[in-house]
Symmetry: C2
Subunit: 258 residues, 2 copies
DNA sequence: TTATATTAGTGTGACCCACACACAAATACA
DNA sequence: TGTATTTGTGTGTGGGTCACACTAATATAA
């Protein structure tokens, strides 16, 4: 009876936790690579050529292998992507749990998320496959959860708020990357504006028209914009925290319909 | 001299606005299909078999065409995806702009986003390509922007808050879809929990451990959970609105670093 | 009516991808 | 010195996007 049955676990979970060291690897030919090296090569390739160019043959080439050799280390591309995500996000940022208050902690966490996506822009493209379960991703999750429960929220409430911050960080990072990419492509914001403006007016889209006229619609998203939205979220969480009768720690979590 | 130069516009923009009707289409063989039919076929295929199965040959097959015939209507797969996204999101929901107050409007808008992703789960997978510029997507954007400016926010502030709500809706919808998909796959939450729990304790991830023990980590996301996070956002926006000196409408927008 | 320009759909092929499978090469142990 | 075991290779299958030459259909011009 095996301790863990791989069959019913999501792909990459076992490998991400670096468990078995491939059972008994005393016999047979020696591997020239390791899972870590392959993930590193994939990471470099993604950084260099983007997520769309990330393919098994290209990763193999970077290691001097044929395409299929990689499947000795990783059972599928999906599995590699899980490992890649964990590696790219890296360990949870410092200074989140130990921040001076929950607000500083949440800010640091969100900012770290956005920063991470700035370093590896393809992280926005990496599909999210269910709840995080790999070591680093769990580290990120636990960090923000500790901050929020420390502020008096229940675990379930904290999870909801964490999803909130996660969604915001990803969305901001994605939008920010988009404008960077578009400036590197052939699209000209001026041409877009010229194309859209009459249509916006015709449809009565006055707010969009105003933004477009002020070049604020496809504008770069600066750090001030990031913190603006973040402060809205934190204000909202603050309402929940301060409105709660002090001293009473709620444990049940989010009220659910029966 | 053409009015609009397609070259410097993002892919799909011109087609999405249904402009030229293909210049003068009086000459030559008559087309058996239309762009709309092709987008509809793609939409049906995505609904039926998921985003991963969406390919030009399969769409063509559904219409009784060869794969390449589609390129007579659409210049690339990317372009088709833009049209597909616009079609799948559909027109902006009713009852958002005319809601009784901004809070009701924002709630209706966000709920409509999530609902839309429930109808077409692959919408979560559809890559976001820069700011929305297709008719329906602009309609969604203008709807929430009107609600927020109507509440006293500047256009730029409204845009930031819209990004906030958008990110939240997408993240919630994605997480919700993930648990639905996982229940349809071979992964067993119980096996996952059994695998992770000792590791969570070993790493001192107490909050995650608590959530996992209560089956709250990979649990279904209910409507109550959606509104919980949404209320946090709205509370945060409310702080901004009510704190602003009443009567003074700010126009400049988000403060920016010089 | 016939010729011609124009457009729609087909066929083929180049080049990419993930992955299965048989095989060769390398290594440890009997 | 076998022999089992494991890694890397080679080949093949089935799929994908898309370019390009070609055929078929259709409206205009002669």
């Amino acid at each position: 009876m095996p301790l863990t049955d791989d069959a019913h676990l999501p792909p990459g979970l076992v490998l991400a936790w670096g468990l078995p060291a491939k059972s008994k690897n005393k016999l047979g030919r020696k591997p020239t690579q390791s899972v870590e090296q392959i993930v590193d090569a994939a990471l470099e390739l993604a950084d260099a050529e983007g997520f769309a160019a990330l393919s098994m043959p290209k990763i193999a080439q970077r290691l001097g292998l044929t395409a299929n050799a990689i499947y000795r280390y990783v059972s599928s591309r999906d599995e590699l992507l899980v490992l890649l995500g964990d590696a790219a996000w890296g360990p949870a940022p410092d200074g989140v749990v130990g921040a001076r208050d929950w607000r500083a902690g949440a800010t640091a966490w969100t900012q770290a998320m956005v920063d991470r996506c700035d370093i590896h822009p393809w992280l926005c493209d990496l599909p999210i496959r269910g709840a995080p379960m790999t070591p680093n991703l769990l580290g990120w999750a636990e960090a923000i959860l500790k901050v929020l429960t420390g502020a008096g929220l229940s675990p379930a409430e904290s999870l909801s708020c964490a999803l909130l911050l996660d969604g915001y960080a990803r969305r901001i990072a994605s939008a920010r990357r988009d404008v960077r990419d578009s400036s590197a492509s052939t699209v000209e914001p001026a041409a877009v504006a010229q194309f859209l403006e009459p249509r916006l007016h015709e449809l009565g889209y006055s707010v969009l028209a105003a933004l477009m006229a002020g070049d604020q619609y496809t504008d770069e998203i600066r750090d001030a914009d990031v913190t603006f939205g973040l402060d809205r979220i934190l204000d909202g969480i603050d309402v929940l925290i301060t409105q709660r009768p002090s001293g009473v720690r709620q444990v049940a979590g989010v009220p659910r319909s029966p």
